[in-house]
Structure formats: structure tokens, C-alpha cells
């Protein structure tokens, strides 16, 4: 049987990749949204693993809720992206610095 630490390490790696995706990515907002999805997935992975490990179904059921929220969130994100593109003719992250103090 695969020890639980393997699962947890995998989810941590995915999480780290997604964070790096947010920080290091300076080009495209689409990639940023994808990184966010990845982050959610890593968290879901954690939930399922630990739910199984502890024999508690709540964690696994909770994942469904998270997935729903994630779907809604990405739908909103994409809609915002379209509106943004209409106004700025660009989805470059570096162009979105209008809040600069």
C-alpha cells in the first residue's frame, strides 16, 4: 500500500507549482486562472486523501461542493477576462497595473 505521505507530498508539489504559476507567470491571465484551478485541485486531493485515511466521508463529500464553487469561480473569471479583453485589447498581466500607487 502506498503510504499517505506520498499523496500529501504530491498535493504539496501541485500546490507549489500553482503558486509558482501565479508568481512567475508575467504574461497571460489565462495561465493565472489555470494556476488557480490547479491550486484547488491540490487542495481537493488533500481532502480526499485525508478523508480516506481517517475513514470519514465528509471530506470526500466536501470535494463536490468545492468543485461546484470552482466551476462557478472559473466561469466568472473567464467572463471577466472577456470583458477585460474588450476594453484593453490585451490579456497581458503586466498591462494590468492601473492600481499602482
Amino acid at each position: 500500500m502506498i503510504p499517505i505521505s506520498y499523496y500529501l507530498i504530491l498535493s504539496t508539489i501541485i500546490f507549489a507549482i500553482s503558486i509558482a504559476g501565479i508568481f512567475i507567470n508575467r504574461k497571460n491571465i489565462l495561465i493565472l486562472l489555470m494556476s488557480l484551478e490547479l491550486m484547488f485541485l491540490s487542495v481537493n486531493f488533500n481532502l480526499i486523501t485525508l478523508g480516506n485515511y481517517l475513514g470519514d466521508l465528509t471530506g470526500q463529500v466536501f470535494v463536490f461542493f468545492v468543485l461546484t464553487v470552482v466551476a462557478a469561480e472559473s466561469a466568472i473569471g473567464l467572463a471577466l477576462l472577456i470583458v477585460l479583453f474588450r476594453n484593453k485589447k490585451s490579456i497581458d498581466v503586466d498591462d494590468l497595473s492601473e492600481l499602482k500607487g
Partner: protein
Amino acid sequence: MIYLALILLLAPLVGTLLLLYIQNRSKRLSVIISNFSILLSFFVSIYLLFLYFNYNYLPETHDVLIFADTKLYYLAFGLYIDSLSLMMSTVVTSVSFLVHYYSISYMKNESSFNRFFVYTNFFTFSMLLIVLSNNFFQLFIGWELVGLSSYLLIGFWTKKESAIKANYKAFLVNRVGDIGLLLGLCLIFVNYSTTNYAEVFSLSNTINNHDIEIFGTSFNMLSAICLLLFVGAMAKSAQVPLHFWLPDSMEGPTPISALIHAATMVTAGIYMVARLSPMYALADDVSLFILYIGTITAFFLGLVALVQNDIKRIIAYSTISQLGYMTAALGASLYSLAIFHLMTHAFFKALLFLCAGSIIVKCHHEQDIRNIGGLRKFMPITYMAFLYASLSLIGFPLTSGFYSKEGIIDAIGYYDYTIPYLMLLASIFTTTLYTSKIFFKVFFGECTLHDKNEKENDKEMLIPLIILTAPSVFLGLFIFDILMSGELFGSALASNALVIDFYNNYVTNSLHFFLHSFLTVNFLILVLALIFGYYYYYKKSFNISVPKFVSTMLEGEYGFNNLSSKYIPIFQNLFTKYLWKKIDILTIDNGLINNTSAILDKISNKVRKFHTGFIYHYSLTIISALILLLLIVRMQY
């Protein structure tokens, strides 16, 4: 009784509020409200006086409203009803009412007619607050309100520069006195931890011998309190050296001068000392100081009146001098005589001022007596009223002024205060001289009116003159015996024994006092001064050349003129400039306000660099902060 006394006190205040509400809507309404509120309080005080003496009420002190009642202190709004406060409020309201009535005609062409009555009603209210108060806290409030309303009234003509200067002066001089009063109140509060008159009196009997250290010298506690309170009285009652605001207060309308000089303002100091007589009677050293201050004021300021030419200023100096008599009587512990002179003086001085007002109106606001003359034929009623008031002022036998003033002078002589006695005798001469100066110059001599068909003023202005003549002449005779034998004030004033002793051994009764007076040196001085005045001012049969330095000294009021109009302003200028430059501009403007904004500007300029606008910077911050937080939480367990 307490409810009636409340009506007496609050009627003028209600009048003020109503007048404020109706504004300039109708002159008629202003007149009705202002006059009736005072009239109501006059009737109530007469009724209370009647009740008090007919049913032998005892002095009553009553707290109506309690502001604070803790272990540390107790503050209340209360009334003190006894013969002294009732007599005083009767004098205040009667004179005030007559002045109000007189003002209807005097102020009829004034655009801010209503404002005048608002102020005068408020003035009367604040004086009544002092008179009826039963604690020091309320006394102080009334004291300040009197100061405020006199400030407003002296500067009633806000566009007249001299009036503005005069009210500023009056206000500042009174502030000096208020500092004394306030310090005295603080000492009372610290030592007796109560502000109620009755409690302080009973405590001051027991705790009066412990000392207080001020700047290394020790003072008797009670003396220190009395002295500080008297400084307040000196400013309000225009005693040397805080007297110089009073002649300038003549810049206000003439009815106001009558009100200030007779009933509502300058008497406050005298009244306060008399009210606190149980304390002053125990402080002998302070009493002696008061006696000398009073005598100096009576003599030296009377002299100044001789060289003045403005009719109102002469009467003003005469007021200061008469207040000196009252203060001297207070200093000699003859409290009931002081109050007696206060009452008679209130009536004849109000009468003198109202006469002066009607003369001024007739002469188209000419106040210099060198330019007024021969008014006797045109103003017979004013002439008669002025004559009686003058007789009362100089203390001609049988008039009110005679009984009160001769009483004071003779009693001071009787108790062997030699120097004050001689100075007061000498000021009989000056009093008579300046009175005859006004009298002969204004009513006799060449007529200066252009229109030879001039008639007397309106009847609103004449009726108060006629009414005031009665107490000016007869009040003294009427109450002399009951007052001197101690029946009138009873236990309200301390040291009654002194006056009663003087009465029994020297006066015996009013008739005897009257007959005896013809044989005294007082009467001789009076007659000499009258003859002198007659030949000097009326016949002009001889001329006296006064040495130059004497006349400059008198005209400059012993340097007080320069002091108040030159040196104090220079000092004040320097001081306020210093405050402006160093405190206001340097500390507050630049230091606190501008500096704060400059510092904030610098900080925010640095802080806003963090706001790059890039999402990944923000999210980096959020996540690193989150990690940090988790680490901290981890370290806790």
C-alpha cells in the same frame, strides 16, 4: 415662598427668551414683554417683603435644583431668602423697571430696539441671580453674567469706536477682579468643601485660625479668602485701583448708565461683601484694608469729578466716590449702613442719570456741560427732579442721602477711625462742589437751546423721574429708624451690635439725628461748599487758578488714564504679539498642524511605493503573510 422667589428670579429670564424669540417683529410687543416681566418680578418682591415682615418669616435657604451630589462636592442651584436679599431685589427690580419704562421713549428711534431690551432684561436677571443665590457657585455664575451683559450694553452702539473700546476695557478690568473672586472660591472649596453660604459661615467660625503659605509668607486662611473675594468686589464696585472702567462705561445709552450705576452692576460687590459679612466680620485686617480702599476711592475720585466736563462722566465719578463711602462702611463693619447707602444711592443716582438722559436728548446729544445752559425754564420737571436728586447726593438734611451718608460718616467718626473720618468729611466738600457745578451750569446761565419753544420730553421719560423723586427724598427718613435699630436686617448681617450701639448712643432717633446735624461740622462743610459753588459756578465772581500739575494730575486721573489707554495696551500688544508669533504661528500652526501633514506626506510617499499594481506582488504578499501566520501559530504549540 420659594416658588414666589423663583418667579421673582425667572420672570426677567423668561422675558429675555420671549424677546429673543419675537426679534424685531413689533416694538409694541417688545415693550410689553420687557416691561411686564420686570414689573411682575417687582410686584413679587414687594409681596415677598410684605410677607416676610408681616408674618415674621425666618431666613430660608433652599436648593431648587441639584446638579451634583457626591462625596467630594455638592453643587446646587438654590435661593436664599431673607430680609437682605428681599430688600436688595426690591431695589434692583424697582429701579430696573423705571429704567425700562424710561427707555421706551429714550430708545424709540433706535433700529435695534428689541436687542436693547433683551440685554436689559438679561442684565436684571443676572443681578437677581447674584442677589438671591445661596451658594458661591451660583454667585460666580451671576457675577460673570452681569459682566457679560454689561459688556454687551456698554457696547450697545456697536458702530461707535469709543463704545467698543469702553466695553472691552470694562470687560478686561472685570476679568482681573474675577481672577481674585475665582481664587477665593477655590480656597473656600478646598478648605470647607462646600459652596453653600450657611455652611461656610458656620465653618468659618470654627476653622479660621489655620494658616496658608503663599510664596513663603503665611497668611490667615480666612483673611486670604476675604481678601481675594474683595478683589472681585473691587472690580465690580469700581474701587481704586480697578475703578477706571466705570467712567468709560458712559459710552452706552444713558438708561444703561442709570442701570449699571444704580441697581444692577456696581452694587454687586457691595452686596457680596455684606452678604458674606459673617466672614468679613472675623477678618479684621482685611476689613481695615477695605476701609482704607473705600476712603481713598471716596476722596480722590471725588476730586477727579471736579475737573470733568462731560455731564455723564461727572456723575460717573460721583458714583465711584459714593461707592467709596459704602466700601468704607463695609470696612468699618457697619454693614447695614453700607446697604442703606446702597439703597438710597440706587434711587437718587438712577434719578440723576435719567435726568441727565433727558437733558442729553433735549440738547441733541450734547454732553459737555460747558455747552449746555439755562434749561430751567424749558424743563421744569427735570429741573425739580434733578434738584432733589442733587440735594440727596450732597446729603442735605432730611433727604435720603443725608441719612445714609451722614450715618456712615458719623459712625466712622464715632468709632475713632480718624484718617478715614477726615477724608470722608473732606469729600463732602468735593461732592457738593461738583454737584453744584452741574446744577448751576446746566439749569442756569445763558440758554443754549436754538429753538426757544422747546417743551419737556415725552411723558414716558418724565413719569420715572417723578416716581424716583419720592424714594430719593423720603426713603431715608422712612426706614432709618428700623434699619439702625437692627430690626430690618436682623441676623442677615453680622456685627449689628456696632450699628445699634452707634444708634443708641449717638443718634437716638431720626428726628434727633436731623436736628443734631445742623450743629455738626458736616453741615458747616456742606454749606460752605454750597456758597462756594454758588459764587464760583453761578455768579462767577472769582476765579481760582489751580496749579498746573494738580489739574493735569486730576485730568489724567492720577495716571490711570495713561495706564489704561497707553501702557497696558503697549504691554498687551507685546504680549499678544509674542503669543501670536511663538505660540500660534510657531507651535500650533507650523508645529502641530503643518508638521503633522508634512510627516504624513513623507510617510505615505514611502508607503505607496509598495502599491505596484501587479497582481502577483499582491498575491505574493498575501501568501507569504499566510505562511508567516501559520508558522507563528505552529510555534505556539
